[in-house]
């Protein structure tokens, strides 16, 4: 076997192991918490009983799937691009159905299926809980509805490629929805995250929502109440069917629609470009190009990330270091930008080897843009934290230091991933990711990010030293290491230029 094939096999195996570990740890967490709740029924009662726990946990997994899709820009192209099949006598509905089925085998879903089973098993062991099989059926229908929703989301995202005004309006609507969500979350002081939505007092209202239908279905199936079970199942099925039909209609309509051209403001078009203080002109130009590319391609996602945080602010902020969580979250928001630095360049990536610039400057500019967007997200989160909870000056300091300290490592690891696993981006969407490598590498980046963010905290706790000092030390070490790490990443890009261009450029 060729050396490169061995390397691919190894990376694929590592990615599979990482995905399996993540999945297994979620399973263990569910089973362990289930055992704990069985021992302490008063805790179970506080959390609304087994049904509300089932609805909350499954909803969290499904919300995680949706969230991961937004953060990772995973509204990827259809498995089978319907436009390519227009000339052939293949049913458009069949293509939509195949695209939907392919979504269910997406690597992120494969990681989340075992925890859904574990949740059903863990809750089934609690007193008064529905049977495991009933919960599995209900969770299966919820997966169908969520996957349909994602399918609709992917078709909806395709509209943004061709309708810039629509994209902007939708982003504003999301921002307003996020603000409303934040206000709503402020109205539930002292509650913990999504679970706070499922106490017994609110159960009646929630029975009108999809998580409520899922819980009601499990309960009805378990107790042999056929009519109630059919009603709940029908609601979930119809939700999924409506989303699928909507996705199909949107994708078909989009095929016939020419894209609307985007025109930038006359002032911006006439300007001679940005000038960054103290930076050479070529670096300023690179920075401007990167920033404009990211904003014009992924503005929606950049808006969505803080919005998602706003919605969940009260779920994650409590704890000893709320702004440390915010720092990690902000970097997660730019994970896709950091780990796919060349994906947006596509054919033009060849320019980095043809024009008189160093790969080091290219990567430095790309990293600077990712850092700036991460900083913007962090600042939004810090403001939310300041208004939503009590944060001390020490916590702010730790957050700021951690945000700055972790980034050099994420950026340079992201550079390496960008070189090894480039994924071309078309419009606002990734081309369909093939193989386990890209997904595994992005999981690895997430683990590295979490490790680098929490290690100084753990060290400070173990050694009894001030937490800010530990983060200041990490910041200093990584700032000193950054030039060398950047140099290594650019050398790797130089060495692997043929493979990189082969993945991105059509004629290589």
């Amino acid at each position: 076997m060729h050396g490169r094939q061995w390397a691919r096999l190894l990376i694929g195996a590592l990615a599979a192991i990482m995905g399996a570990s993540f999945s297994a740890s979620l399973c263990l967490l569910a089973l362990q918490t289930g055992r704990e709740l069985r021992r302490r029924p008063e805790l179970l009662a506080m959390r609304g009983g087994p049904l509300s726990l089932f609805a909350a946990w499954v909803s969290m997994v499904l919300a995680g799937r949706i969230w991961f899709g937004l953060v990772a820009l995973a509204q990827s192209e259809s498995f089978l691009d319907p436009r390519r099949f227009r000339a052939f006598p293949v049913s458009a509905r069949l293509l939509s159905a195949i695209n939907f089925a392919a979504l269910l085998f997406d690597p992120v879903w494969l990681v989340l299926y075992p925890p859904l089973v574990a949740i059903a098993l863990a809750i089934a062991a609690l007193p008064g809980a529905p049977a495991a099989w009933a919960m599995l059926i209900a969770a299966g229908l919820a997966v169908w509805a969520t996957a349909s929703l994602l399918h609709f989301g992917a078709a909806f995202a395709a509209l943004f490629d061709s309708r810039p005004l629509f994209r902007r309006l939708f982003s504003v609507a999301l921002l307003l929805a996020g603000f409303a969500g934040f206000q709503l979350s402020l109205a539930l002081p002292g509650q913990r995250g999504l679970e706070s939505l499922f106490p017994p007092g609110r159960w009646h209202a929630l029975s009108w929502t999809p998580p409520g239908w899922m819980a009601a279905l499990a309960d009805a199936l378990s107790h042999g109440q056929a009519s109630r079970a059919v009603a709940s199942a029908l609601l979930l099925f119809l939700l999924g069917a409506a989303c699928s039909a909507g996705a199909h209609a949107l994708s078909q309509r989009e095929l016939l629609r020419p894209p609307e051209p985007v025109r930038v403001r006359p002032g911006a078009a006439r300007a001679a470009g940005w000038r960054l203080p103290l930076a050479p002109d070529s670096i300023s130009a690179l920075f401007e190009k990167e920033a404009k590319t990211v904003v014009r391609l992924g503005w929606l996602q950049l808006v969505v990330v803080p919005v998602a945080y706003l919605l969940l602010a009260h779920a994650v902020l409590p704890g000893p270091q709320p702004l440390l969580v915010a720092a990690v979250y902000a970097h997660l928001g730019v994970l896709e930008i950091a780990t796919n630095a060349f994906g947006r360049d596509r054919d033009a990536a060849r320019a980095w080897f043809l024009w008189p610039i160093t790969l080091r400057s290219v990567l430095a500019a790309k990293n600077a843009v990712a850092w700036l967007f991460s900083l913007a997200i962090f600042l939004v989160l810090a403001v939310v934290a300041a208004f939503g909870t009590q944060v001390t000056a020490g916590q702010v300091l730790v957050g700021v230091l951690a945000h700055a300290a972790v980034f050099p490592l994420l950026a340079t690891f992201g550079n390496v991933v960008s070189v090894l696993f480039p994924v071309p981006v078309r419009g606002a969407r990734l081309r369909r990711i093939r193989g386990a490598g890209p997904v595994g590498a992005r999981f690895a980046a997430m683990f590295l990010l979490a490790g680098a963010a929490w290690a100084p905290y753990a060290i400070a706790q173990a050694l009894g030293m001030p937490v800010p000092a530990a983060y200041a030390g990490e910041l200093l070490a990584l700032l000193l290491a950054y030039p060398a790490l950047l140099g290594l990443a650019s050398q790797l890009a130089e060495r692997r230029r043929e493979a990189l261009l082969g993945a991105l450029a059509r004629d290589e």
Binding site: R263, G273, L286, T293, D347, A348, A351, P356, R497
Partner: protein
């Protein structure tokens, strides 16, 4: 100073077991309009990639403008590859200014040249549009403008006229011919449109399955092929190998 802008000796590139370019000896005179011809997959783009430093040769030697690969050479060449060097999310004007600044022209000079190039390429009206919204022909013209912004001495064009309408093609060929005639530029061009090559180029090279099968002045190459009255005739005889143009399909009436 060598009279050749490009010289290669036994230039070879392999991809695994496949030999894409097989020991070619190119001689491209300075100030010439050189047409590099070949069928699809003959090795034209691979050769351009090696000459411009994107691909490393497996073996052989190459000299481009008598300079080693590096920034000094990059500043003296311009490249329009088949997959264009265009950043979709910039406007046409932003892209040109960006490229100029990377070549060290400065903001003001880059903006001035960008305006002039947009005017010449008849793209001024679309300067504020994102490149993603450009037609294929407009993209080709913009890519050529970007390759010219720093005033290169040697221009590599890989299929520059593919997808370009007749009017745009005429204006592009006039522009390039004028630059070459004034002795400002050497152009190394690949194209399937042999009529255009015959009209534009004074020198040609023909590559077939990775090997250079003919090279020299246009008249010399055509004259060396028995019975060839034009470049198209010569090309078909050189690479066609007596393949039949018509072959019946059993399932069609």
């Amino acid at each position: 100073m060598s009279s050749f802008a490009i010289e290669t000796d036994a230039l070879t590139r392999r991809f695994g077991d496949q030999v894409a370019v097989d020991g070619i000896d190119l001689r491209v005179p300075r100030g010439s309009f050189y047409g590099f011809l070949g069928e699809n997959g003959a090795g034209k783009s691979t050769t351009i990639s090696m000459l411009t430093g994107v691909l490393a040769p497996t073996s052989g030697a190459l000299r481009v403008m008598e300079l080693p690969a590096g920034d000094a050479l990059k500043r003296r060449i311009g490249v329009v590859p088949d997959g264009l060097l265009l950043f979709d999310r910039l406007t046409g004007r932003e892209h040109l200014v960006f490229v100029g600044r990377l070549y060290g022209l400065g903001r003001a000079e880059s903006a001035r040249r960008a305006g002039e190039l947009l005017e010449t390429m008849e793209l001024s009206g679309d300067a504020r549009k994102l490149i993603a919204d450009y037609s294929f022909g407009m993209r080709k013209k913009l890519a050529l403008a970007a390759a010219l912004i720093h005033g290169p001495e040697l221009l590599f064009l890989d299929e520059p006229f593919e997808g370009v309408d007749a009017v745009a093609k005429a204006s592009l060929t006039a522009l390039l011919s004028d630059l070459v005639r004034r002795g400002r530029l050497t152009v190394f061009l690949t194209s399937h449109v042999l009529e255009v090559v015959e009209r534009l180029c004074d020198h040609v090279g023909v590559i077939h399955r990775g090997r250079l099968v003919a090279q020299g002045s246009l008249d010399g190459v055509v004259g060396a092929v028995p019975g060839a009255a034009s470049l198209t005739d010569a090309f078909v005889r050189l690479v066609g190998e007596g393949r039949s143009a018509t072959r019946a399909l059993s399932f069609l009436p």
